[in-house]
Symmetry: C2
Subunit: 278 residues, 2 copies
C-alpha cells in the first residue's frame, strides 16, 4: 500500500521552498542546483525503508504544455536524485510565438486559478525573471517574461556600475522619478545607465540613490513594454514586488498582492491529488 506522506517543493523567485511536516523551509538557490539542495533540505527526514514522493515545481520542467491551456496539473517523473525519493515534476507552459516559458511559476498560477476560479485579469509573478500572465475563463491565454531582476543583478555583479551600486539603502523619490521617466521614455534608458557610474564619480557615492534609480529605470522599461498586459485589467502581484505595486498603483491599476509560496504549494497539492485520482 502506498504511503500517503508526500513532500511539496517549489522554486519560487530566488529560493527553493520545501514543506516538511507542515513547516515551510526556504533556502536561496544562488549558483546551486535545486535538486541537490532538495536532498540536503529533506536531510534527516528521509528514511531508507520508504520511498518518499516529492512533488516538485522546478525551474526547467521536463514537459511543457502549449498555451492557451488550463494551468498544469500533471506530474512527470523526473530522473532519480536519491534512492529514497521519487521526484514528480509539475509540468510547465510554453508559448511558441513570442517564444516564452513558464517553468516553476506554473505552480503559482495553478494555485491562483484554483483559489479564484472566476478571476479574469493578469498575474504579475515577481522574481529574477518576472512573468505577466493573462488569465481568462480559467485558462492561461498568453504570457510574457522580463529579465528585470536578472539585469539588475548582472549589472551590480560585473559591470562598471558595480561600485556605484555597492551598499544598501533605498531612495523612494529617486525610484519614483526614474520609473516615471522610463515609463514615458523607455527608449532613453539605454543612454542613462552609464550616468549612474558618472554620478558616483562627479557627485559622490550614494548607493541608495543609485540602486533606486537603476531599479526605477529597469522597472519602467518593463512596465512600458508590459502595458498591453496591465492596461485596463485587474492585476494580481504574486510574490515580493513592492516596485511593481508602486508602479501599477501610480497608473491607477487595481492591485491585489498574494503570497507566492502559499500559491505554489496549493498548485502542487492539486496536482498530487489529481494524480491520485487518476
Amino acid at each position: 500500500m502506498r504511503d500517503r506522506t508526500w513532500i511539496a517543493a517549489a522554486c519560487v523567485g530566488e529560493s527553493l521552498c520545501v514543506r516538511v511536516q507542515g513547516d515551510d523551509v526556504q533556502r536561496r538557490i544562488g549558483a546551486g542546483k535545486p535538486e541537490q539542495m532538495l536532498v540536503e533540505m529533506l536531510g534527516s527526514y528521509l528514511r531508507d525503508d520508504v520511498v518518499l514522493p516529492v512533488v516538485f515545481a522546478g525551474r526547467d520542467p521536463l514537459r511543457l504544455a502549449k498555451v492557451p491551456a488550463v494551468p498544469p496539473a500533471t506530474l512527470t517523473p523526473l530522473p532519480d536524485i536519491d534512492p529514497r525519493i521519487v521526484l514528480l515534476g509539475l509540468d510547465g507552459l510554453a508559448q511558441i510565438r513570442p517564444a516564452d516559458i513558464l517553468g516553476g511559476e506554473a505552480a503559482q498560477v495553478a494555485g491562483f486559478v484554483a483559489a479564484y476560479p472566476e478571476w479574469d485579469g493578469v498575474l504579475c509573478l515577481t522574481g529574477p525573471s518576472s512573468k505577466w500572465v493573462h488569465i481568462s475563463a480559467g485558462e492561461v491565454v498568453s504570457f510574457q517574461s522580463f529579465m528585470t531582476g536578472e539585469i539588475f543583478a548582472a549589472l551590480a555583479g560585473q559591470s562598471v556600475l558595480r561600485k556605484a551600486l555597492e551598499g544598501d539603502g533605498w531612495d523612494e523619490a529617486a525610484f519614483t522619478e526614474a520609473l516615471s521617466d522610463a515609463m514615458s521614455r523607455p527608449e532613453r534608458v539605454a543612454g542613462q545607465l552609464f550616468s549612474l557610474h558618472a554620478s558616483e564619480r562627479l557627485t559622490g557615492h550614494d548607493p541608495a540613490i543609485a540602486r533606486a534609480r537603476l531599479s526605477g529605470m529597469l522597472t519602467g522599461m518593463e512596465m512600458a513594454a508590459a502595458r498591453p498586459y496591465w492596461l485596463g485589467r485587474d492585476v494580481a502581484v504574486i510574490g515580493e514586488g513592492a516596485q511593481y505595486e508602486a508602479a501599477l498603483r501610480a497608473q491607477g491599476v487595481p492591485v491585489d498582492v498574494h503570497d507566492a509560496v502559499a500559491l505554489a504549494f496549493r498548485g502542487l497539492e492539486l496536482a498530487y491529488t489529481a494524480q491520485g485520482e487518476r
Copy 2:
C-alpha cells in the same frame, strides 16, 4: 638632464596597450588593475638607474575638464606604482548634465582632433562602454556613453541567458533583423530578452543566432537612443565596432573607421610634447 625616453600606455577598449621601443604590446585587462599590468608589461625594460616617464590614459583619470572643452592635453602626476616609473595621467572630460565621463578614451579623441583639425561630426568610440562624442570647431561639445558591450557580457556571464549564449559563431541575418526591430521599437527589447532563453529550450541551441540577436537588440537600443548624435552628421567609428558600421551604413550615414590604439598614442604624444614645451 632629463632622459628623453618615455613610454605611452593607454586603456583602449578591454585592453591595456603599451608602446615599448616602437612596438605596440596589448594585454586584456579583464578583472586586473591596469597599473599593475603596466609594471609587468614594461618588465625587463625598466632600469634601476633611470626613472622612466610613462604617459598614461587610464580608465579613471585623476582630473576631469568640463565640456565644452578642447580635448585634454594636460598630464597629472599619479600615485607611485614603482620607483622606476613616474606615471603621468592624461586628464579626462566630464559632462555635468547628463552626468557622463570620458576617461581613457580622451586620448583617442585628442589624437583624432589633432589628425583632423577641421573635422565636424561625431565620434563613435567602441568598447565595453561606447561613447558618442560630438566634435565641432576642434572642441568636444557633448558626449554620451552606452553600456551595450558591458550589458552583453553581464547577461552572457551570469543570467538565465548564459546557456543560450554559450559558444561561438555569428548569424548576420539574425543580427540585422534584431537590429532593425530594436531601432524602430527600442521599448520592446525589455520584453524580448527572455525569448533567447525560451527559444533555446523550444527550438534548440544555436549560439550563433542567440549571440547575434542579443547584439542586434542591444545595439539597436543604443542606435535609437543615440539618434540625436548620428542623425544628419558625419560619423567616425574608432576601434573595433563592425556592428556600429553596419547599423550606421544601413541608416545611410557616412562612416569612416579609425584605429583606436594609433589615435590614443598620438593623443598621448601630443600631451607629452606639450608638457615639455611648458
